[in-house]
């Protein structure tokens, strides 16, 4: 029986997108067009790179599919080419299209627009975001497999480079982009040519499960119950928090004008991602314990809030250490509440869809954080966040007590196979 041609195989893999993901991509495209349009109409400061940051994330979204793709009659090169199109090729094309549409609309409306050189720099910068992200996604699992979880520190220089590109707070980016863009195009070409030799993707969060290292005791511990869960995860938390502090302060040292407040969400999101993923995958085991649904909900909510609270307290200390003017306390409420919405979304829609729930939860909560910074709008914003927290707790209880999906959670498939 004759198989498909390589091009057709790659095309099929590239188009392996669920309707939900299609909707999410369309949303991203509309948001990207909006951002491009605003910038092309009023080309303030540096080129607009945010659409690139948004679309760059898509490369990671197909990662969980790769283990399954390997079972299909396709080659490793086909799979890596599909990954290339998802992370570089398609975003680059879409970004060019969005910029072109923005310019076309302005031309039809008879308005002026940014210069062609700046537009080209924008597109190139957006491409550089995608290529850098693709490299990070490749480097993370490779580093972890070679040197363990602590090897994540090796990614710091790459992340710093990334922030150097996307954060517009430190002067004119255009001269740098003139060098970065050719390098990004070269890297994109090299990635395409080396398809088939890429490392396996990271399909679970790098920090998703405790290593079990140091658990070599042959006898039962004196601890039992919930403290064991906390102790088991403590090394990962220390790793995560250490990384976040190190990156923040190093970045501040390299870029003194960088506003560390921007890291608030990153601190909050990384903590939430770890806590939510861990608890959601273990829901069947947790529900089998002799606890009422309400009590289990209370314990899980308390765990989430504790972890998130500790992360945010640490972040506040980092702000103080970095000499930043800290955000008002009310502004910390949004990232604190975030996992209370993200957790039930993960229980309801599963871990893969949770990647979207992650973004959607931020979209719901982030505007309230902006409002909570202002003394005039803070009270209603805080009230809104409290309402979201209450809703999230009720939703969690409902998923645990009445729902059944939380117990059919499919963990993201680890990309492990022999001979790869």
């Amino acid at each position: 029986m004759k198989g498909l041609e390589p091009g057709a195989r790659v095309r099929r893999l590239v188009l392996d997108i669920s309707p939900l993901m299609t909707g999410y991509l369309l949303f991203q495209a509309v948001l990207g067009l909006f951002l491009d349009f605003i910038w092309v109409r009023h080309p303030f400061g540096n080129p607009m790179l945010l659409p690139g940051v948004l679309l760059a994330l898509n490369g990671s979204m197909i990662a969980p599919k790769v283990p399954l793709w390997r079972t299909l009659p396709v080659t490793a090169r086909d799979i890596d080419r599909a990954r290339w199109w998802h992370s570089v090729g398609v975003p680059a094309s879409v970004m060019a299209l969005l910029l072109a549409v923005a310019v076309l609309i302005l031309k039809l409306a008879g308005h002026s627009h940014a210069g062609w050189r700046d537009i080209a720099l924008s597109w190139g910068g957006q491409l550089a975001c995608c290529v850098t992200t693709a490299l990070v996604w490749m480097a993370m699992p490779l580093a972890r497999r070679k040197w363990g979880s602590w090897s994540g520190l090796a990614l710091v220089p790459l992340l710093l480079l990334y922030f150097r590109i996307v954060v517009p707070a430190h002067g004119d980016l255009r001269p740098s982009l003139a060098y970065i863009i050719p390098a990004a195009i070269l890297a994109a070409a090299l990635l395409y040519l080396t398809a088939g030799r890429w490392p396996l993707p990271q399909t679970t969060a790098m920090w998703a499960s405790p290593s079990g290292e140091g658990a070599g005791e042959g006898a039962p511990s004196r601890l039992s119950g919930w403290p064991v869960l906390i102790r088991a995860n403590l090394p990962v938390w220390l790793w995560l928090w250490g990384m976040m502090v190190f990156i923040s302060l190093t970045l501040k040292w390299i870029l003194p004008d960088f506003d560390l407040n921007l890291f608030g969400w990153i601190f909050g999101l990384m903590s939430a991602q770890f806590a939510v993923t861990n608890l959601a995958t273990a829901m069947r085991s947790l529900r089998a314990l002799p606890l009422r649904a309400a009590r289990l909900t209370a314990v899980l909510v308390l765990l989430l809030l504790s972890v998130q609270g500790l992360s945010l307290i640490l972040f506040r200390l980092v702000l103080a250490a970095g000499g930043e003017q800290a955000m008002p306390v009310a502004a910390f409420l949004a990232p604190l509440v975030f996992p209370l919405l993200y957790f039930p979304a993960a229980l309801r829609f599963g871990l893969r869809v949770a990647q979207i729930g992650y973004a959607l939860s931020i979209i719901v909560i982030a505007p309230l954080q902006l409002l909570s910074r202002d003394a005039a709008t803070a009270p209603p914003a805080v009230a809104g966040l409290c309402a979201i927290a209450a809703l999230g707790i009720f939703w969690t209880w409902r998923e645990i007590a009445r729902g059944s999906r939380a117990y059919r959670m499919q963990p993201l498939v680890p990309a492990r196979w022999r001979g790869a």
Binding site: E217, G218, P220, S224, A232
Partner: protein
């Protein structure tokens, strides 16, 4: 008092409807809960463990009603499923330490013995355990306490022969103790036939047979027969056509029914006892076998 009493239990999940389900498991019994994939076995066990709530009906476990007696039920039941995930605890030892904190009747000596017999070490990483080893870990957790009811959902999936034999030995020892019961869902029907004394067959969410294992096996018999009338096989209640080759027929006869075979032109050539697997296949198969 029965160990399990389900009355009119119904649960809708999308297009799938479980029930209405009426099922009892007497104390001292080992119930084989069998059915094809997607029949609703896991959903039933989930409902008994409070993972989801029925749309209708009553769930009684060890004389307690779910969900009112949820905590007491879980305290006295042990549950095993291939879907139990202990990854967040990192190592086998930590997962065991976590779970034992919830059960005052945890028997550490028994736990250590089971760990040895199932060849699992406390310091093994959960993430690197094989599929079978994860099931073994769940079994160790379930059998390390003095539960009154074992709910085992596919406990033999991925188990090697030795581990399977060990599990069966543990189940037999367990059920010897007074008032204990076991409900075990599996596709290993030959194993279940030897182990269980009660059986319930679920198909497409409906219970199609239940009762004592020996009674079920006695009730059905396979007949090699010849159809002397020619033409189509007459529709007879209590007779299922398993296969047909011209006038030669292979039939399953329900001995509870008084079937006039001779009057219908069917000459019985040979009678063969049926195994649970044979009966299961015949009952679950589409009855509209071309006659």
């Amino acid at each position: 008092m029965d160990a399990v009493a389900l009355k009119g239990v119904e649960r809708r999940l999308g297009d799938f409807v479980l029930g209405p389900l009426d099922l009892t498991v007497p104390r001292g019994a080992v119930l084989a809960f069998v059915g094809p994939n997607g029949a609703g076995k896991t959903t039933t066990l989930d409902l008994m463990m409070g993972m989801g709530a029925p749309d209708r009906g009553e769930i009684g476990v060890l004389g307690l009603a779910m969900p009112q007696g949820e905590v007491a039920i879980k305290q006295r039941c042990a549950y095993v499923s291939p879907d139990l995930n202990f990854t967040p605890w990192g190592s086998v030892g930590r997962a065991l330490d976590f779970v034992r904190g919830f059960y005052p009747d945890w028997d550490q000596g028994r736990c250590e013995r089971l760990l040895r017999e199932f060849s699992i070490a406390r310091n093994e990483r959960i993430a690197s355990l094989s599929f079978g080893a994860r099931i073994k870990l769940s079994l160790v957790m379930a059998l390390s306490r003095d539960a009154e009811l074992l709910l085992l959902d596919e406990p033999t999936v991925g188990l090697d022969v030795n581990a399977r034999l060990l599990l069966f030995r543990e189940i037999r020892d367990f059920v010897k103790r007074e008032g204990r019961a076991v409900m075990i869902s599996s596709h290993q029907l030959s194993d279940l036939e030897r182990l269980a004394d009660h059986v319930a067959i679920l198909n497409k969410g409906k219970l199609i047979a239940s009762g004592r294992m020996d009674a079920l096996v006695e009730r059905y018999v396979q007949l090699e027969a010849r159809l002397n009338t020619g033409g189509a096989m007459p529709v007879l209640e209590g007779v299922t056509v398993l296969a047909r080759d011209g006038a030669r027929l292979s039939l399953m006869l329900d001995r509870k029914q008084d079937v006039p075979l001779a009057q219908s032109g069917i000459e019985v050539l040979r009678e063969t006892p049926m195994s649970l697997e044979d009966i299961f296949v015949a009952l679950v198969a589409d009855k509209s076998v071309p006659a």
